[in-house]
């Protein structure tokens, strides 16, 4: 039930409430999973999916049946890998071989893992991992091969990272921007690649997306980097640091200095630089979305991206990220989901809107002021290149393609012109005819037009004449009487 606080909030933010209601009332899933045909193990898998992923479960469940189970299993396999990597209670000697061999483990019937620490939130998934393996083996061989390949590469990447951390090579976490992007590649870029391969395999995306590897890489990087920026405080409290030293060392000497209130400006400048690094990938993400052919897949890809750009906006120039976890409001989230489940143009509008919001908050004192402004401009230009907001003005004389059109327009204009001429002449003709009849009738009745005319002349002369009223008044006195006497 909504609390008093919520009611008060929505009372003053009606548009937010409207978005929530609209989403809840009007959104129909593109596809709905058919639970009646599912095996017990698959049902268990979906149970874990709902438990481990609050943000992704909704979009995954609406996916096209061709890829629904594959994507869900792919997610759970990677989640299992991640749960083992994250658990600091497992010694390296035990952890490393599991990570490196995980792509084979997912083919071992009945494999489970019970050695996670009691506080690990996704512990139960590993305890019952046999259900995931069972379902994995029922997938199409082509899908299995994709999941296996990605799992192998990610497991090895994670093992390298864990090993470096353990031996103090990266004692302060990530050092260079290159390391940072490498880390994001292993945990997110590879997911982008795996999903893209699944989509293309099932004909849900343009095969060209596989050739432009930087596009799906950016999809993953964009999401992961936004999470890393947003979770700075939470990660810091958990003694993890993903912001690269190469960036923060430009602003503060020690990483923990970012959180001191007296370093507010430096911390903001540092977060701006992080946001700039991410913002530069926005156009790639939109380009990628242009290659998706199926609505449910489009929604699956677009919703997280829209949320990410909106999150980037709330984090930008916001010192609160160093104090607590900032989030986009529920109303904004619903609005974004409404706009991200239709077409690319609306998603582009979302990106343009949030890019402009970021641009508006850009501060000249920021060391990356100009760079951020340029990144915003580039995103906007990219959007303009796929959805031009104006057409090139048509030059009729120079454009032979339009010659027929021009001739047609000319004919039409001619016709209208003649119609007007006929109409006006008919009216004038009628007036002339009627006046003629009246004048003739008056003449037969003995009207003296010559006298009336000269009288009218004199009266006009009296009104406007320079000769003065006295001269003009002389004939005026005589004529009317004759006129009347004649009549």
């Amino acid at each position: 039930m909504p609390g008093v606080k919520d009611i008060a909030y929505y009372a003053v933010h009606p548009t937010q409430l409207r978005s929530i209601i609209q989403w809840k009332v009007w959104h129909n899933p593109v596809h709905e999973r058919d639970e009646s045909k599912e095996s017990a193990s698959l049902k268990r898998c979906f149970h874990f999916l709902a438990q481990t992923s609050r943000s992704f479960v909704a979009v995954i469940l609406e996916l096209h049946p061709d890829i629904l189970v594959s994507v869900a299993i792919f997610y759970l396999v990677l989640r299992g890998l991640d749960t083992i990597e994250d658990d600091m209670t497992i010694p390296l000697a035990k952890k490393e071989p599991i990570l490196r061999d995980f792509h084979n483990i997912i083919e071992q019937d009945g494999w489970t893992f019970t050695e996670n620490g009691p506080n690990e939130k996704d512990r139960q998934l590993c305890v019952e991992f046999n259900v995931v393996i069972e379902e994995y083996k029922k997938l199409k061989p082509a899908h299995q091969a994709i999941i296996k390949d990605i799992t192998k590469r990610m497991g090895n990447g994670m093992a390298d990272y864990v090993k470096n951390a353990e031996f103090g090579i990266n004692d302060n976490g990530v050092n260079t921007v290159k390391d940072y992007e490498k880390y994001c590649h292993y945990v997110a870029g590879l997911v982008g690649e795996g999903c893209t391969r699944l989509f293309v395999e099932e004909g849900k995306a343009n095969p060209a997306l596989l050739k432009r590897t930087e596009l799906h890489e950016s999809m993953g990087q964009f999401l992961q980097q936004v999470n890393i920026i947003r979770d700075i405080k939470e990660d810091f409290d958990d003694k993890r640091r993903f912001w690269p030293k190469e960036i923060w060392s430009k602003h503060v000497d020690k990483f923990e200095d970012l959180f001191k209130p007296e370093n507010k400006d430096k911390a903001l400048a540092c977060s701006s630089e992080m946001i700039l690094t991410t913002l530069r990938r926005a156009d790639d993400c939109l380009f990628y979305l242009a290659g998706i052919k199926e609505q449910s897949v489009f929604n699956f890809c677009a919703i997280p991206q829209s949320m990410a750009i909106a999150t980037l906006d709330v984090c930008f120039q916001n010192h609160d990220i160093f104090k607590r976890n900032v989030k986009i409001t529920k109303g904004d989230a619903c609005q974004l989901m409404l706009e991200s489940t239709q077409n690319l143009q609306l998603v582009c509008d979302v990106f343009k809107r949030y890019t402009r919001k970021i641009h508006k908050k850009n501060n000249p004192h920021d060391p990356n002021f100009l760079q951020i402004s340029i990144a915003c401009g580039k995103t906007e230009q990219f959007i303009e290149s796929i959805f031009p907001s104006q057409k090139p003005p048509v030059d009729e004389k120079k454009n032979p393609v339009n010659a027929e059109e021009v001739a047609r327009l000319k004919n039409e204009a001619d016709e209208t012109k003649w119609e007007t001429i006929y109409m006006v002449s008919a009216v004038i003709g009628t007036i002339l005819l009627i006046s003629g009849i009246m004048f003739t009738a008056a003449w037969f009745a003995g009207a003296r037009f010559d006298i009336a005319l000269s009288q009218a002349k004199e009266q006009l002369g009296q009104l406007f004449g320079s000769s003065g009223p006295i001269n003009a008044s002389v004939p005026l006195d005589t004529k009317p009487s004759t006129d009347h006497s004649e009549l």
Partner: protein, 366 residues
């Protein structure tokens, strides 16, 4: 193989001297720089370059120079030079325009007579964009130019706007002269550069810098979201060298026009803020002036200036310039010429502003 003979008209000007520099760096050309002025003080001159003084309006003298040098390539930069000319001023414009159009005709004519193989003309984005009331978002070379002339007669617009239309139509005419004379034996192309800035840039950076002293920096005209294009001088020079190579080689650029910008559209406000920042100035507050209000203010000031017989810095032209979107796509130049803006906007601004600061310091000492 003897080095290719290249003649640069306007070779001691702001852009011309940068092109000469780029050609010298390439180290494969025999360079002649033709200009009405000798190299100005403080600019680099090269012993390997032949400097010739000549007015492009003097056809006989021009013919004489061309017969003597027999260039294979002509890079004609004279036309774009709006040196010292305010964009909205009227004085001297007719003279400048006749140099642009008649001068271009002369140079094309003698080039054809002397068997020049390739001709690169420095045009300007204004051929398209100087329809001041219009927005141009991500325009490309397929957008037709020359509509400015048709509007010229119809609109009851201010002098400043009329002069801009004239400029546009004349620039279009000059570009048309060059492109229509393209033949397989005499390959021509036009490079439509965005407003060029750089060290010794006489207009863009100094004008923006001038706002600090005038106390104009807190005011934002219009929405402040409209993007515009600029280009750093050495990037334009690069484009000329690339165009030259293309015309002598593949020839895919022959008869074509290309937009040349830094490929980094930015809002006018942000460009100004970035320049002011280089001089350590930050506006103390910001005041947004709606476009309509600004337009009427411009109108009023134009009359005030006319009555008091002064030249003002603020007019309706300035307002339209500041509030319209004017950016183009450089995809064609990238594709056909292989053009890449090597100096990015932040670096370009830093170099240009440092140079202006040095100039100001030097003046202060003297």
């Amino acid at each position: 193989m003897a080095p290719t003979k290249v003649l640069v008209t306007g070779g001691t000007g702001f852009l011309g001297s940068e092109i000469v520099h780029a050609l010298v760096e390439a180290n494969e050309f025999d360079i002649t720089a033709l200009d009405i002025n000798p190299p100005s003080l403080g600019t680099a001159t090269y012993s390997s370059v032949t400097y010739v003084r000549c007015d492009v309006l003097d056809l006989d003298r021009l013919r004489e120079v061309f017969k003597e040098t027999c260039p294979t390539v002509v890079l004609h930069t004279v036309a774009v030079n709006l040196l010292g000319e305010s964009r909205y001023g009227m004085q001297g414009r007719d003279a400048v325009f006749s140099i642009n159009v008649d001068g271009t005709k002369n140079v094309v004519q003698v080039s054809q007579e002397c068997g020049v193989k390739a001709f690169v003309y420095t045009s300007s984005v204004t051929v398209l964009l100087d329809q001041l009331e219009e927005n141009f978002r991500n325009a490309d070379e397929t957008w037709s130019t020359g509509r400015a002339t048709t509007l010229y007669g119809q609109s009851k617009v201010s002098h400043s706007i009329i002069s801009s239309y004239e400029h546009a139509s004349k620039a279009t005419m000059a570009e048309g002269v060059v492109l229509s004379s393209n033949t397989p034996g005499f390959r021509t192309c036009a490079l439509r550069a965005a407003p060029i800035f750089g060290p010794r840039d006489p207009v863009t950076i100094p004008t923006i810098h001038g706002c600090i002293a005038n106390g104009e920096t807190p005011f934002i005209l219009g929405s402040g979201t409209n993007l515009q294009d600029y280009v750093y001088v050495s990037n334009v020079a690069d484009a000329h060298v690339l165009a030259l190579h293309n015309l002598l080689g593949l020839g895919t650029a022959a008869g074509e026009a290309f937009f040349i910008t830094n490929g980094e559209p930015i809002t006018v406000r942000d460009l100004c803020l970035a320049v002011w920042k280089e001089f350590g100035h930050y506006p103390r507050f910001q005041l947004r002036i709606p476009e309509e209000l600004a337009w009427w203010m411009g109108w009023g000031l134009e009359w005030a200036c006319w009555l008091t017989n002064r030249t003002g810095t603020f007019s309706r032209g300035v307002v339209l310039d500041a509030t319209r979107a004017r950016y183009v796509s450089i995809a064609k130049a990238r594709r056909v010429l292989g053009y890449i803006p090597r100096v990015s906007l932040p670096e370009a601004l830093r170099i240009s502003c440092q140079h202006l600061q040095q100039q100001i310091n030097a003046q202060a000492k003297a």
